[in-house]
Symmetry: C2
Subunit: 208 residues, 2 copies
DNA sequence: CCGGAAAAAGAACGGTCGTTCTTGTGCAAA
DNA sequence: TTTGCACAAGAACGACCGTTCTTTTTCCGG
């Protein structure tokens, strides 16, 4: 078996495991068992534990990119592009075929204490998400779809917050309405910064 | 030394440890070391690990109650009471003297995978928070401070989301502006559901 | 002062972890 | 066929975990 193929298979198994049990529960033994390999066989590819975990996070971010970005090239821009991204992003792990929840969001919280390269990788992934949001928001502002004095960093923070809330409430708290609530919050925020209907109709009251 | 005093001291040490390193990192050894006790001495009070962790979560919720609820009895009601609670709640661990972040929010995320009594205790604490928010929101609606058709569950979900976002961004991502951003979101949400100025001035644009 | 119960200490257990090292194994070039 | 090498398997290590057990200390009523 080629080394690269095995390495990729280990990372894929690790990603599934991180999605269903969290990055903290990743061990050489658990990954080896699921990949039908020996413990030593896994260690051979990732001599240090942090290498394996960083590799899993890299693969997760790559999967996110292929799921949420590649599907959105040129078909639109400005606000429609932002809204489409938000709808694809929130709950993207299901669409990407991951068996559990978002490994990146989970890792950001789990690794918040002990510093190290794995924690930095998780924070870097979150930074990529933030920059993606900022880029899309800026584009929507440039196209006059959003109010010109919109606080970009604040709006990105709010969207990241909705993503995190959705992650926790759908996964940790098993709220079956998590999707609906997150979509509601997104719609409501978008409506409040839209240049055309800014402050006109109040999306929080009335309809359901 | 009285048994109850020692037990209380162990729980206090455990709470500090959970605040600075997370509930997952709580072990009999680590708690014993910080409490200047032997490992066996700690086990004697909490024969099972889950007893210790549930005790720590109970103490955390008790501390939250004394910090965020006791200080808000009767001095007001309706919307002012809700707003005051939100401002005290977000970042309450600092005010309560805890050395790190919120052990409850951290535990909810950390324990989301493996089931057990500790996970249920964390979820129960989150439920108490949700019920507290719902109660305050309902009171504000009854007093005609909030729009009568406000979606109570959705609004409580949004506030919980801001709390979680603040927890993650201030603690995991070390954003120095986390407090300001969370306060901004709270103000903005409150303004959008206020009966008096609903939809008039748009708090998201303009200022800042 | 003393005896006994409660509390703390401490040793020991099987298990799992990351890491290191040694042993086999299969395949391609010589 | 034989040699060499990368890959995988597997044993071994020290450390720490939760849990159980035994021993020592502490303290209080007689």
């Amino acid at each position: 078996m080629s080394s690269q193929v095995t390495r990729k298979r280990i990372l894929q198994v690790g990603l599934d495991l991180a999605s269903t049990e969290g990055l903290c529960k990743i061990t050489f033994g658990s990954v080896a068992r699921r990949a039908s390999l020996s413990k030593g066989g896994v260690v051979g590819h990732f001599s240090h534990m942090s290498d394996l975990k960083r590799g899993i996070l890299d693969l997760a971010l790559d999967l996110w990119s292929r799921t949420c970005l590649k599907a959105d090239t040129g078909v639109g821009s400005g606000l429609p592009s932002l809204v489409r991204y938000l709808n694809v992003w929130i709950g993207w792990t299901r669409r990407a075929g991951l068996p559990g929840s978002c490994p990146i969001a989970q890792a950001v919280v789990e690794l918040s204490f002990l510093p190290g390269s794995v924690r930095e990788a998780a924070a870097a992934a979150e930074s990529v998400w933030r920059q993606t949001l900022i880029m899309l928001i800026r584009d929507a502002i440039d196209k006059r779809h959003l109010l010109h004095d919109t606080d970009v960093a604040q709006l990105a923070w709010d969207f990241l917050g909705i993503y995190l809330s959705h992650h926790v409430s759908s996964h940790s708290l098993r709220d079956p309405d998590a999707d609906r609530k997150a979509q509601f919050s997104v719609k409501w925020i978008v409506a409040s910064v839209e240049a055309i209907s800014g402050g006109a109709a109040h999306p929080r009251s009335g309809g359901q």
